[in-house]
């Protein structure tokens, strides 16, 4: 299946926030994990679950909101990325203009690399 992939221009500067050892790099193709259907505080919107996009930039390492929400300290911090999606990928034929794009912030545990075949 051919996925609609957006163009990204990796920023010509380093992330302004501390970052440890990110597993992904700008330009990489990634899939957002479908996640479980259960309750819990997550910050990965439903409409992006399972969608394929490209890493636009690395934002830095931040305390994990899925831990902070339950009064824990959010450690270890997780790497946060901005991921760009083509509207065609998100909404299919109903997209207003398929090549328009959407960027969202997604934490590393929610992303898996997709290797172009």
């Amino acid at each position: 299946m051919t996925r609609a992939l957006p163009q990204v221009t990796p920023p010509p500067f380093a992330p302004p926030c501390p970052v440890g050892t990110p597993c992904l790099a700008p330009g990489d193709v990634v899939r957002v994990l479908p996640g479980g259907g259960g309750p819990g505080h997550v910050r990965t919107p439903w409409y992006l679950r399972g969608a394929v996009g490209r890493i636009e930039r690395i934002c830095g390492d931040f305390p994990n909101p899925e831990e902070l929400a339950y009064g824990r300290d959010g450690r270890p911090a997780r790497t946060l990325y901005r991921v760009r999606f083509a509207m065609a990928e998100l909404w299919g034929a109903r997209a207003e203009r398929p090549e328009d794009t959407l960027d969202a912030e997604i934490f590393e545990p929610w992303l898996e690399p997709v290797h172009a075949s």
């Binding site: 302004p16 919107p45 934002c59 830095g60 909101p65 207003e96 328009d100 959407l102 960027d103 912030e105």
Partner: protein
């Protein structure tokens, strides 16, 4: 129809002179969270951890934030190419140069160009760069804006009076985590040599959310 406002001569039909309903007096019992807020606040004051003056000062600090701060940043970026580059690379650092503290959250500036238009939304809640724009407008927090902007941004922008030609790509930014966003609009033509203050006057709150573009002089 029962009507219990006979003693309110100023309240014909329960509408203000501008035709809006009056807000009801809050005669109901406190909610659980209202009681909790009062209890925690009074305990903090009793223990000497804060004072009513400090709390009032913090409220005043939040109320003092307005889109004028964001406009000041935009006007400087338009006037100073090096500052523009620093703003795009590290929004929080560039704000600090202007005396604006972004606190724990990180600011990302996204730039409109002749072929790209940016618009910001938070589908999960209502994340908003308050340090630069003050309190968000009610529509920014509405389900309609939050759900439609990711799905049909062009239709939403048209309702704001912004009809983008097809050759301009729309880039939606869903503010889902620790970043906050400001749109750096394109500088209007015909403003060469303008002072920063005059430029800042062209930059409205809506321009920096991305649902409008600056007025052309």
């Amino acid at each position: 129809m029962p009507h219990d406002h006979h003693d309110h001569g100023h309240d014909p039909g329960g509408l203000s002179p501008s035709g809006h309903p009056y807000r009801k007096d809050q005669d109901h019992a406190l909610t659980h969270w209202q009681r909790m807020e009062i209890a925690i606040r009074e305990l903090l004051v009793e223990r000497g951890l804060t004072t009513p003056v400090e709390i009032a000062a913090q409220v005043a600090r939040m109320d003092a934030r307005s889109p004028a701060l964001g406009a000041q940043v935009v006007a400087r970026a338009w006037s100073d190419p090096d500052y523009r580059a620093r703003l795009l690379a590290d929004g929080s650092g560039a704000c600090r140069e202007e005396g604006i503290e972004v606190d724990a959250l990180k600011l990302v500036a996204v730039e409109n160009t002749p072929d790209t238009h940016n618009v910001v939304v938070c589908t999960l809640c209502s994340c908003y760069p308050r340090m630069l724009l003050g309190l968000p407008p009610d529509w920014y927090k509405s389900r309609a804006y939050r759900s439609r902007t990711v799905r049909e941004p062009r239709a939403v922008l048209r309702e704001f009076g912004l009809d983008l030609p097809d050759r301009v790509a729309v880039r939606v930014h869903d503010s889902t985590a620790d970043m906050r966003y400001i749109v750096l609009p394109a500088r209007p033509e015909g403003t060469e040599g303008w002072s920063r203050a005059a430029l800042a006057d062209l930059v409205s709150r809506d321009c920096m959310i991305g649902v409008a573009v600056p007025r052309t002089p």
